[in-house]
């Protein structure tokens, strides 16, 4: 690799942040906004370029960069992407850019706001690019700090409580993860912090007890981030109090770090423990799905409703991951390998689609909150007449979220269910209840806000302005595009997921070829 393109993408936002730090916070507000917008826009362009350079047919890590960093400890600066990280990188750069565009309306402490957002972008991109545990951990934590400030400074009335709760919860998880990383390091031979090498070594294959401890250490780190029931309680607080763009990044990107961790770290490095405890993962995923949906249905606050719907939707991701590493016994169907790949494909796609759908939904909640200064679902009515554009976009996003065929959410959830059924038929069947409840509360919400007689109190609300439409339009376009023709993005993901399932012994049987799998999926949509 001649140009270190991943590094350029990764540190461009940091450069932007440093530039902003040198600007005057009162005189240069316009310049600060432009710097942030241009930097994040360039980062988005570079990430698209990264996808263009990425060869989706080739398994393994691409665009690799590896130089020694802390030589004494064997820590390398090791970056690389595969089909798992590519969609999440695009998600991060896209949502960050749109968040910054949307945040032009922020008037208070613009300099710090933009600086923190750019730092956040470097942190989250770093998590998805890093292939060395120490580097991974550093970026993991670096993404934590700016979000703490974003919630704490620009958040709602209970922002201080929400900010520290978010920070403490995630720090508990990440420190547990740190211990697991150290345990892995001291048991690897030769000692390494490299995630890829560690996956090849499978250092704890002969030490099931330690492997179990490491699995649960990693689990705590990732599950809190996802968040999986019962570690989800920070999420409603953080989401409700965070400013709009903060919620977008939190739901759209930060939650994905948890599920990404499961697929990138837990599955390949402690595969046996994953198989052993897959039932637990599936069970917790099921509880998250049902419980999250039920909680969402009970919320009068629109933002909280979407926050709980995230618990529900991330449950599907976890169900797909659990299904992929489940123990299926020697008598499983011959296609179980395909099912597992399908489940993982669905899980990764769901990470992406949930990011764009929920990102859009949080922007849209911000739109109505900026105008009405309340978010109570019951306080509106007939808004479809007052704000037709807003109503159209919002209804589309809700439909995408509840899994209407033709929109992105359906494809991902369908793949998860399709794949998970092979491993966990009963749990998967029960999880479908979650879909029904989700449909229920979203339809109900649409009805309460947009239909019925116009609430006269809101009859003068202006419709969405250009900036707001600009922030949401690309997300809506993606929802539709993936919903109608998901093959390009599934093609990106599929090779890496197949590789994972085959290499780490989650199936005994041979897998069908890629092309037959693609045909299999295409036939389903035909």
């Amino acid at each position: 690799m001649d140009i270190p393109i991943l590094s350029i993408m990764l540190f461009l936002p940091l450069v932007g942040m440093i530039l902003i730090l040198f600007m005057d916070r009162e005189r240069d507000v316009g310049l600060i906004r432009w710097t942030a917008t241009v930097t994040s826009g360039l980062t988005l362009i570079i990430s698209v370029w990264v996808i263009a350079l990425f060869n989706s047919g080739q398994p393994g890590i691409q665009l690799e960069e590896k130089v020694p960093w802390i030589g004494q400890l064997g820590v390398n600066y090791h970056l690389g992407v595969d089909g798992l990280s590519i969609p999440l990188i695009l998600l991060t750069t896209l949502l960050t850019f749109l968040s910054i565009v949307y945040s032009w309306r922020i008037q208070e402490r613009v300099k710090e706001y933009m600086a923190f957002f750019l730092l956040l972008e470097t942190g989250t991109l770093g998590v998805f690019c890093a292939l060395d545990f120490v580097l991974f951990y550093v970026f993991w934590e670096v993404s934590l700090v700016p979000m703490y400030f974003i919630i704490g400074i620009w958040g709602g009335p209970r922002r201080e409580y929400a900010a520290i709760k978010f920070f403490i919860y995630t720090l508990v998880g990440s420190l547990a993860m740190l211990l697991a990383i150290l345990a892995l390091y001291f048991n690897s031979n030769p000692r390494t912090f490299d995630i890829i090498q560690m996956a090849q070594q499978n250092p704890l294959a002969q030490a099931p007890v330690l492997a179990a401890l490491v699995f649960w250490g990693l689990f705590l780190g990732f599950a809190i981030k996802v968040p999986l029931f019962p570690f989800h309680t920070w999420l409603p607080d953080a989401h409700v109090e965070a400013p709009t763009a903060g919620s977008v990044i939190l739901a759209g990107v930060l939650l994905k770090m948890g599920t990404y961790g499961f697929v990138r770290v837990s599955l390949p490095i402690v595969p046996d423990a994953c198989t052993e405890f897959a039932g637990w993962l599936a069970g917790l995923a099921l509880i998250s799905i049902i419980y999250g949906a039920l909680c969402a249905m009970a919320q009068p606050d629109l933002k909280k409703l979407i926050a709980y719907s995230s618990v529900n939707h991330m449950g599907y991701v976890m169900l797909g991951i659990a299904a992929a590493c489940a123990y299926v016994g020697p008598h499983a169907a011959a296609t179980i390998g395909d099912s597992k790949v399908t489940a993982l494909n669905g899980a990764v796609l769901q990470m992406f689609t949930h990011g764009i759908i929920t990102g859009a939904l949080f922007f849209l909640v911000g739109v109505i909150y900026d105008r009405a200064h309340i978010r109570d679902v019951n306080a509106f009515g007939g808004l479809a007449k007052v704000m037709p554009v807003y109503a159209g976009i919002m209804i589309m996003a809700c439909f995408a979220s509840l899994g209407l065929p033709g929109l992105a959410g359906f494809v991902a959830e369908f793949l998860v269910f399709l794949g998970a059924f092979g491993s966990y038929p009963i749990i998967t069947g029960a999880a479908l209840i979650g879909v029904v409840i989700t449909a229920g509360y979203f339809l109900w919400t649409i009805q309460k806000i947009f239909l019925g007689p116009v609430n006269l109190q809101w009859k003068a609300l202006p419709d969405m302005d250009g900036g707001e439409i600009f922030a949401v339009a690309p997300l809506c376009a993606l929802m539709l595009a993936i919903g109608v023709y998901p093959m390009p993005i599934i093609g990106l993901i599929n090779t890496a997921m197949r590789n994972l399932v085959v290499q780490h012994g989650f199936v005994a049987t041979n897998l069908a070829s890629v092309t037959s799998l693609v045909h299999h999926i295409l036939n389903l949509f035909a």
Partner: protein, 491 residues
């Protein structure tokens, strides 16, 4: 005595001459006339430059190999030299913090700097002590200037209280330690630490008795007091709060680091023969120290008290490395590295505290209200120091904790100390971030603007640069600490 030996104590000789020179300068500098004010700064300047110059002899002695000099009274090895270097830097930083702080002092302005140099001298001897008698003398040479310095603001009742409390606690602790050392001497028949190891071994083989464990416990009281280990930590919050803040800075890093140097060397050498189960005892005390410091820090409203409890907690973290012992990879290095990291971040945090205290007139955390608006640079620096104390990556504090917990995991036996450590890190996050909350999240502002002083600004710059640079690229400090801990024997 061959003259050659003197080069081996060139650090101590240098400091002795420097201390006397600073004291003498005060007598001869003119105080009146146009240049009077400038002349008055001369002793402080000479002391700072002299302390930093002391790094040169340290560097000369570095890497020659472990040895003892002066009939085995002093140990000279990289481990000891690393600590001596730390003390010199700490002394220089504290003087820079003090120049403006004591500006209005009516008398004794320049004696103050001489006392700091004497204290640094005491610490360099204490870290190197290889003989019980030298250990006692060095212990007192550290303690006595500390008592005086803690009470340096004579008109401030709190400062007087601090000095007196420190003295009374210190006297009792010294007496206990001395008693313990007497027993050790009685058992071993020699005052040389190196020889004692073997002699005590023979005593244990011969049947031993309760005297040996008793001696260890009594020594532990004295040394535990110095590093503020629970349950001998009670003096710290009152003394830290009452003492002039630059002195608090010094006490929180200097004698603590010196204490750790000698605690590690004594326990690693004499622990086994005196009490076979010492690691478990110290592990329990480390746990107690971490929880005591962190839990009591949660409710503090005074910055100095909060940092006092935090420094107790950090002593607990460092004790993990002492427990794990020098035979486990990473352990000795993590102790040395953590000391270096702790000096950077803690002195930095105190430097900002001094800045705010000088402007607000008190050390209450409430005075930090809205600091991010009135002094964005100071607030950002404080935020980074606090994140480093918590152990967030990107700062040197993370690398320190990474090594410490890694050592504990690597030892296998003591993995649970790493668990205790992370639980405590989470607790500490709450009170460190409470300060960040006050600085950043508040809409009000307590101070309109901040008046900086050159010395404080310099210290903040140096420590901030160190905290961040060594957090991102810890390689230089790792190399040095690897050399400082790469020794079969610490004597």
């Amino acid at each position: 005595m061959p003259i050659d030996d003197l080069t081996q104590v060139s650090v101590q000789l240098h400091l002795t001459v420097l201390a006397i020179l600073v004291l003498a300068l005060d007598l001869v500098i003119p105080r009146r006339g146009t240049w009077g004010l400038l002349w008055n700064k001369l002793p402080a300047g000479v002391a700072t430059a002299g302390l930093l110059l002391g790094l040169y002899p340290v560097a000369l002695l570095w890497g020659i190999g472990p040895r003892t000099e002066f009939s085995g009274c002093l140990a000279i090895n990289n481990f000891v030299l690393f600590f001596q270097g730390i003390f010199l830097v700490v002394g220089a930083l504290v003087i820079l913090l003090s120049i403006d702080f004591f500006r209005n002092l009516r008398q004794g302005y320049n004696e103050y700097f001489s006392l700091i140099v004497f204290l640094v001298l005491g610490m360099t001897v204490l870290a190197a002590a290889n003989d019980l008698v030298v250990l006692v003398v060095a212990f007192e040479l550290v303690s006595i200037p500390s008592y005086v310095l803690a009470a340096y603001l004579r008109r401030d009742p709190k400062s007087n209280e601090a000095g007196l409390k420190y003295f009374l606690y210190g006297a009792a602790a010294s007496a206990m330690m001395l008693y313990g050392l007497t027993i050790v001497y009685g058992l071993g028949g020699t005052t040389n630490l190196l020889a004692l190891g073997e002699k005590l071994e023979a005593h244990v083989i011969a049947g031993g008795g309760l005297l040996a464990p008793l001696a260890l416990v009594l020594m532990g009281v004295g040394l535990g007091y110095k590093i503020a280990m629970a349950p001998f930590h009670a003096w710290a919050p009152d003394v830290y709060e009452g003492a002039p803040t630059p002195v608090t800075t010094l006490l929180s890093v200097g004698p603590k680091a010196a204490g750790f140097a000698i605690v590690a060397r004594v326990l690693w050498q004499l622990g086994q023969p005196l009490l076979g189960g010492w690691p478990m005892l110290v592990a329990i005390l480390a746990t107690l120290t971490m929880f005591t410091g962190n839990l009591l820090a949660l409710r503090q409203t005074n910055m100095k008290r909060m940092l006092a409890y935090s420094s107790i907690a950090h002593a607990g973290y460092m004790l993990i490395a002492v427990v794990v012992g020098p035979n486990t990879e990473w352990a000795a290095q993590s102790l040395v590295f953590y000391i270096g990291a702790y000096v950077l971040m803690n002195v930095g945090a105190f430097a900002v505290a001094i800045l705010v205290e000088r402007n607000a007139g008190n050390a209450l955390i409430a005075s930090y209200d809205g600091l991010a608006r009135s002094a964005p640079l100071a607030a950002a620096a404080m935020g980074i120091f606090l994140l480093s104390l918590t152990g967030i990556p990107g700062t040197v504090g993370f690398v320190g904790k990474f090594l410490l917990f890694g050592a504990a995991i690597n030892s296998q036996t003591w993995w649970w100390l790493a668990l205790v450590g992370i639980i405590n890190s989470v607790i500490s996050l709450y009170y460190y971030m409470n300060v960040v909350r006050v600085m950043y999240f508040s809409k009000a502002r307590h101070l309109e603007r901040i008046r900086w002083s050159a010395g404080v600004a310099a210290v903040i710059c140096v420590t901030l640069a160190g905290t961040l640079a060594l957090g991102i690229a810890p390689m230089p400090l790792l190399s040095i600490t690897a050399h400082a801990s790469y020794l079969a024997a610490y004597f």
